[in-house]
Every structure is written in structure tokens, then in C-alpha cells.
């Protein structure tokens, strides 16, 4: 089969799976629509049926649908950011969590939450409104640049340095976030706990719109970079000989992944390991061919996070399990599996 048609085939199969999962997720939940199926309620809502109860409308649209869409958007972006980072660092262990990107984002977001009140009034209104999001992006960007500086010289990444600088950034983030928790007020504390656990419960349509905009911009830049990331495996200089503008590519990946991770952290806290698990699964099927794994990780990330979220909110219903527990439960063993597989080359 031609490369393109093979890719489209897998994309369509995965997209179908995602749609089925989304419908199942719509059906999952404690709320009872007086015997009506959630799907028909959603249908009524879309047709603008005036007979629809306000409660039903709220649950189906503002709670379930918003949350499902948010899971799809965030899962997708986390997976693509993981895959792109692995392409940049030429290593399957590079993910937002492992190299401290998530910690950097969480740290600055936490600072914005706790100390934001003191300097917020000096900032322009747009920034005030999205202070947490912007801080998370900057935190991710700073962490990323620091790790890249430390671990990469002359176009070669030292994996040990990469992971250790991630450990260092994470521990700095951990201690300062801990301190912020210690000094924070009750309401801020609730926000902070949310960051550390990670949750999609705070989904709203406004957030989904922002996420969609970020997603479209990011994917327009990143998804066509499959060939370039393949060429990077030869080394940066050889990639340049193949006509790839390596410096520009690196800058794009650094900025776009920080943007994606920052936005995701700002809206859903730290949901770990999606960026590790998804490319790992895809590599089992397609080796390291980024022409395939980059676009496919966008869909598979959604599938994974939507599944995890649906399980996390139904397994102990009516309560809910923090989603980070589930993703880490799969992610940890995957991390170990990669370590074992790459033992000889590390």
C-alpha cells in the first residue's frame, strides 16, 4: 500500500474508534435522564427543542460533552507534544514529565495562582484573564530551554543529562510548589491540589475553544514535520544536508510543545505519561517512522485519555478517581519497558 493511503487508513480506523468511545463516554455517568438516552437528549439539544429540561441540558452539554471534548483535545496535544519531543531529543524517553516541562508549567502556574493577586492589577486585562495559562506556557518554555541547553551539545543529546536535568527541574518545582501550598489560602489550595492531581472535571466550552485554537495552530506547524523528524535521526548535520532547516525546526518544536504542554497544564493540571505511552504503542507498530507516528499520536492520544477519563469517573461512581492515577499506572510500566529495551544503547 502507498504510504499516504496506509496512513489515512489507520487515521480513519482510529478516528472511528474515537467516535465510538465518545458515544460510550456520553452514555457513562450517574445522572439519569428520566429514561431517555443521552444521545437523544443531545439530539434534542442540537435541534433546539424547547421541551428540554434545563438540568438535562446542563448535564449533557456543559458537563459530559464539554468534558469528552476536552479529553479528546488534551489527550491529543499531550501525545503529539511527547512524540515531537522524542523526535527533537532523538530518544523515546523524552516526554513533558521526564524532562521537567510539566513541572516548569505547574510551578509558574502555581506561582500565578498564589502570588498572582499581588501583581495582577499592573498587567493588561487580557493577560490578567489568562494569567495562569500564560504562566504555564512560560514555565514549560523555560524548563524546555534549560533542559535542551544542558543536555545537547553539537547536535547530540546526552540522554542521561536530559533525564537528570528533568529530575532537577522537577525537584525544584516540587519544593517551590510545596512551599506555595504551605503559604496558600484555602481557595488557592483547592486550585493547587487540582494542578498536582490533574483532572478534566473543570471542563468548560470556553476552555475547549481556547484548546481548539492552540491545537489548530500547533498541528498546522508540527504535523507536517514527520519527514524532518525522521531525518533528525541521522543527526542534525545530516538532516541539514537533506534540505531541512534544523535550527528553525528545533525552535518550532521547542515553542509549540511548550505552548501545548503549558495550555494543557493550565486547563487540566498535570496528567502524566500520555506523551510516553502513545508514541511507545505506535513505535511497536510503525518503528520510529514519524511520518506515521506523529499524525497517529494525535488520534491515539485522544483515545487513550478519553478512555482513562471515562474509567476514572465511572469506576468509583458517584465519586471520581484522579485521572493521573490511571495514566501513571499504565505509564510507569511503559517507562520501565522502554528502559529495558534501550538498556544497551543508553
Amino acid at each position: 500500500m502507498k504510504t499516504q493511503s496506509k496512513l489515512y487508513f489507520y487515521l480513519i480506523v482510529n478516528a472511528l474508534l474515537l467516535v465510538i468511545l465518545a458515544v460510550m463516554a456520553l452514555y457513562t455517568g450517574v445522572y439519569d435522564f428520566n429514561g431517555a438516552s443521552p444521545f437523544s437528549v443531545l439530539g434534542q439539544l442540537i435541534q433546539g427543542d424547547p421541551g428540554l429540561a434545563l438540568n438535562d441540558k446542563y448535564v449533557i452539554w456543559d458537563v459530559r460533552a464539554a468534558r469528552i471534548i476536552m479529553a479528546i483535545l488534551i489527550g491529543s496535544m499531550l501525545a503529539v507534544s511527547g512524540t515531537s519531543l522524542q523526535g527533537l531529543f532523538k530518544n523515546p524517553l523524552a516526554t513533558g514529565e521526564a524532562i521537567g516541562l510539566t513541572s516548569g508549567a505547574t510551578l509558574l502556574a502555581a506561582i500565578a495562582i498564589v502570588l498572582g493577586g499581588h501583581f495582577k492589577q499592573y498587567l493588561p486585562e487580557v493577560v490578567q484573564f489568562s494569567l495562569v495559562g500564560i504562566s504555564a506556557f512560560l514555565g514549560a518554555l523555560l524548563a524546555m530551554m534549560l533542559v535542551y541547553r544542558i543536555s545537547t551539545s553539537a547536535g547530540k543529546t546526552n540522554v542521561v543529562m536530559m533525564l537528570l536535568s528533568g529530575v532537577a527541574i522537577t525537584s525544584i518545582g516540587f519544593s517551590i510548589t510545596g512551599f506555595l501550598i504551605y503559604i496558600s489560602k484555602d481557595e488557592q489550595l483547592r486550585d493547587l491540589t487540582f494542578w498536582n492531581m490533574g483532572s478534566l472535571a473543570a471542563a468548560t466550552w470556553t476552555k475547549n475553544i481556547v484548546l481548539t485554537v492552540v491545537l489548530i495552530i500547533s498541528y498546522a506547524v508540527l504535523l507536517p514535520k514527520g519527514k524532518a523528524l525522521n531525518a533528525m535521526m541521522l543527526g542534525e548535520k545530516d538532516a541539514e544536508h537533506l534540505g531541512i532547516n534544523v535550527e528553525k525546526l528545533k525552535k518550532q518544536i521547542v515553542i509549540i510543545t511548550s505552548l501545548m504542554v503549558g495550555t494543557c497544564v493550565a486547563f487540566s493540571g498535570t496528567i502524566g505519561f500520555i506523551g510516553l505511552i502513545v508514541p511507545y504503542i505506535l513505535r511497536l507498530l510503525f518503528k520510529s517512522d514519524y511520518v506515521f507516528i506523529l499524525p497517529l499520536s494525535a488520534v491515539l492520544g485522544s483515545i487513550l485519555l478519553l478512555t482513562a477519563d471515562t474509567i476514572s469517573r465511572s469506576i468509583v461512581a458517584p465519586s471520581e478517581l484522579p485521572i493521573g492515577i490511571l495514566t501513571s499506572l499504565i505509564g510507569g510500566p511503559v517507562f520501565i519497558a522502554i528502559l529495558i529495551k534501550f538498556k544497551k544503547s543508553l
Binding site: 502507498k2 504510504t3 499516504q4 507536517p224 519527514k227 525522521n230 531525518a231 535521526m233 541521522l234 543527526g235 548535520k237 545530516d238 541539514e240 544536508h241 537533506l242 534540505g243 531541512i244 532547516n245 513505535r283 518503528k287 520510529s288 517512522d289 511520518v291 544503547s345
Partner: protein, 256 residues
Amino acid sequence: MIKAHQINYLHRNFHILDGVDVSLDYGEFLAIVGPNGAGKSSLLSVLANEVKGKQKIVFKDKPITDWDVRELSRHKSKFSQHNSNEIPLQVKDVVMMGRYPYFDTQPAKEDLEAMNNMMYETDIFHLKDRDYNTLSGGEKQRVHLSRVMAQLQNEIAHKLVFLDEPLNNLDIKHQYKALEIIKNFTAKANSAIVVMHDLNLAAQFADKILLMKSGKVSAYGTPEEVFTAQNISQAYNFPCTICGHPITNNPMIIFG
């Protein structure tokens, strides 16, 4: 084709290259030879525009830094020394990378042809579905050779290939095959700059020889001009005798 004047390249105040001039004509096969640490690979790096600096290198009458990266990749390619890189892909995917400058998403018929032809010529066609990482050192060399040569399969006149020790790990047959591929390439008015260690092979295949020592050019010219007992003994600090090749009458160097 390519001209460089007075290349200097310093690393921590140590002159890796010290006032090197290079000039290459269309259709020439230039072999860079010299002892370890003479600056051969560095010179190749500088010429191939890998080192960003003040070096003035003119490629096809235009400063090499003024070229568009993608356009340049259709005029020149480079074979580097790949020792440790893990590339978890199949052999044919690695060779296909050489065609990246030519297609966006779907390789065209020419791309597949160029890939297959070069895999035949370098004798790796039977390995095309193997994992690159499971190949032996010599086989990996041939994969990259076919990638680099596939990159220059196009209609453009006067192309240039840089090769950094392409014969490493190759058995005798494939050493000759590789050199014949390069020779065929230069026969079509293209040029090649090849760093190599085997002086006898250089004498047999190259049109021009650049003998380097300690970052300087110690001799430049045709094999007959450069490969004199005095030049070689001086550069390598090792005694040698020169005699004529019984068949081709090219210089033949016998060490010891």
C-alpha cells in the same frame, strides 16, 4: 564548482585548519588524504557548510551561505561518519530519506526508482526490509552511501558529493564498488570530495589529491605529483617506496 580561500578553523586556540585553499572543477574526483588528526574531516565539514563561521566558501559562483537549504540539498550531499546512531527504521526508509528534498508527502515514481537503483548499485537491495539497526557496520555504510547518492539523482548539471571515509568497514569488493559509483558520478561532469585512508585506492581512482598534515595542505595535485616517496614519508612519518602499478601505471605506494 567549489572554491574556498584560506580556511582557518580554531578550536580552543588550536588550529585544526590553518590557511587551507581548496578549489575543485566540474567532473573532478578529489581525494583528501593524510595522517590521523590532520584535519581531513574538519576540512570536509567546513566545505560542506556544517561549521557556521566566517569561512568564505563559494559553491557554483555563489557564497554557500546564500543558498536556500532545500535547493542546496539537490546540488550537493554529504556522507558523514555514522558510528553510533540508532535509527529504528527499515533499510529502505533510510535510503528514502535521500529523496526527502524532492517530495512532500508521497514519494513519486522517480523517488522510488532512485531508491531502488541505488540499493542495487550498492548491493543492499536484498536488505531493504531489514531493520537498519541489525545491520553490520559495512552494510550500514552501504545504506548511507546509497542514501547520499540517491539524493543527487536528478536532472541538475554539476552536482557535488562529499564523502567522509566511505570505505570504512567495507570489504574489498564493496570498496571497489563504492569507488566505481563515485567515479561514474564524476564521469557525468559532477564532482566528488572524498576523505580516504587507502593511498593506493586514492591513486587509482582520484583525479586530484590533497595531502594534509597538521591542518595545512602539504601537497596538492595529480596522484603522480603528490604521491612521491618524499611527500608521503614526510606527511606520515613513515618510510615508503613508490613504484608503477603493473597494469594502470598509476603510482603504487608500498609502506615499510
